[in-house]
């Protein structure tokens, strides 16, 4: 069985996942096969703000979307998940991503050189995926988890342009870990 939800240029031609088919437990194998090449790579613990901060500084972010994401991610690391500001940040990014299944480019970003736009977009997708992962981890919100899995699909579709990147490695590993736990909790027979 093939995992049909990753194809080139998912950033610009997003998958809508509408009326996706059902294939039984074999589907987990297909999904895992796609993630497997990116597991066991060097991972930094991005659950700690100090590591996230160093990573964000190293990116030297310039594009508006990435800077906004980084600022709001910092707030999430420093706020209680029950805080209304935390909830607003998480919900607004879930909505923004899910409505278009991609991150919009601002007019200012369109002014930048093409290469810079692509790099900026990759950074934005990576930071957004971390924001969703943190949101899910802190709140158990499946809307955030759903976004996180879709973002991993996009990131894998552009992995050749991203790698090597420690945040990417971390995110794929965490996605697999979290879903393996959920599958186990639901008593589904699938041993990986």
């Amino acid at each position: 069985m093939k995992y049909h939800y990753i194809r080139p240029d998912l950033q610009n031609n997003p998958e809508d996942y509408y009326y996706s088919g059902y294939s039984g437990a074999e589907f987990f194998e297909a999904w895992y096969e796609v993630r497997l090449p990116f597991l066991n790579l060097e991972v930094v613990n991005f659950k700690k703000w100090i590591n996230v901060k160093s990573y964000l500084v190293s990116l030297n972010l310039e594009d508006e979307t990435s800077v906004k994401l980084a600022t709001e991610l910092k707030l999430m690391f420093h706020r209680n998940p029950e805080n209304s500001e935390y909830q607003q940040i998480l919900n607004s990014w879930v909505r923004m991503f899910e409505v278009k299944k991609k991150l919009p480019l601002t007019a200012a970003e369109l002014q930048l050189r093409r290469r810079d736009i692509e790099i900026g977009k990759h950074h934005a997708y990576l930071i957004l995926a971390l924001l969703m992962y943190k949101g899910y981890l802190d709140t158990g919100d499946y809307a955030a988890l759903n976004c996180f899995i879709k973002l991993i699909d996009i990131l894998i579709s552009i992995s050749q342009e991203i790698l090597p990147d420690k945040l990417f490695n971390f995110l794929v590993a965490q996605e697999v870990n979290e879903l393996r736990d959920i599958i186990k909790d639901q008593d589904i027979l699938w041993n990986v």
């Binding site: 009326y19 437990a25 759903n146 599958i183 639901q186």
Partner: protein, 239 residues
């Protein structure tokens, strides 16, 4: 039961077919049905996949059959049937037909991804929508799967549509069991439990024995189309 003074606004979908069959099975007659379709949307307005269901019931829930024709059933359950060639629920012709017909309420069964706009909402007839999810907790799209994942049940909530997303006043709620693996959820079970809920609500509507309650929306999450991986966990999981 006497004929209910209600319109049924029906897109050419598996859900509309389920509603019509459930009304027919329950012996409920309505005044009017308006079927809308631009004719280009394939079988039942869904992706080009042959829909099939050979089972009549799951427990006591009637499952829709796809070898029936919506127009034919509409003629059996309705005093009057109109058809409009459009796929847009907010099309002026749809609004005009519903405005002219003298009914007290509208049963809504539209295409996915469309939002009912003010032109219909301002007809000042309650628009009955059966949502596959327990409100206010499960708002948005594909909530049947999220509710299965988190609770192991499938909720159906009847609401009077307003201009928010699943925020209208609640007129019905019922929990249904998680379906067996062999049932297609998108085209069979989801439409079937909504149809079952609709029939139950219409019986209470006829008896004037139902309540209308505001939702407490402050803590609800809005869900979007579920990723296939979560969909598989929802179907195969023990919860």
């Amino acid at each position: 039961m006497e004929c209910l003074n209600i319109s049924f606004l029906a897109a050419q979908t598996s859900r509309s077919l389920a509603y019509a069959q459930a009304l027919e099975d329950a012996g409920i007659k309505i005044k009017h049905t308006l079927i809308y379709s631009d004719g280009s949307d394939g079988k039942l307005g869904q992706p080009a996949r042959e829909l099939r269901n050979d089972h009549r019931y799951f427990g006591d829930i009637l499952l829709p059959r796809f070898d029936r024709n919506l127009q034919d059933i509409a003629c059996r359950i309705s005093e009057h049937v109109d058809e409009v060639k459009t796929s847009n629920v907010n099309d002026i012709e749809v609004v005009d037909v519903l405005n002219l017909i003298d009914t007290q309420a509208i049963i809504y069964s539209g295409y996915g991804k469309q939002i009912v706009k003010d032109s219909l909402l301002q007809l000042y007839k309650p628009i009955i929508h059966m949502h596959a999810g327990s409100l206010p907790r499960f708002r948005g799209s594909t909530t049947i799967y999220y509710e299965m994942l988190l609770t192991g049940k499938c909720g159906v909530t009847g609401i009077f549509l307003d201009n928010g997303i699943d925020t209208g006043k609640v007129i019905f709620h019922r929990l249904y069991p998680k379906p067996a693996h062999w049932i297609d959820i998108d085209h069979v079970y989801d439409p079937a439990i909504r149809a079952d809920g609709l029939v139950r609500f219409l019986k209470s509507y006829y008896d004037k024995n139902f309540t209308v309650e505001e939702q407490e929306n402050s803590n609800s999450t809005e869900y979007y189309v579920i990723h296939p991986l979560l969909k598989h966990i929802a179907i195969l999981g023990s919860k």
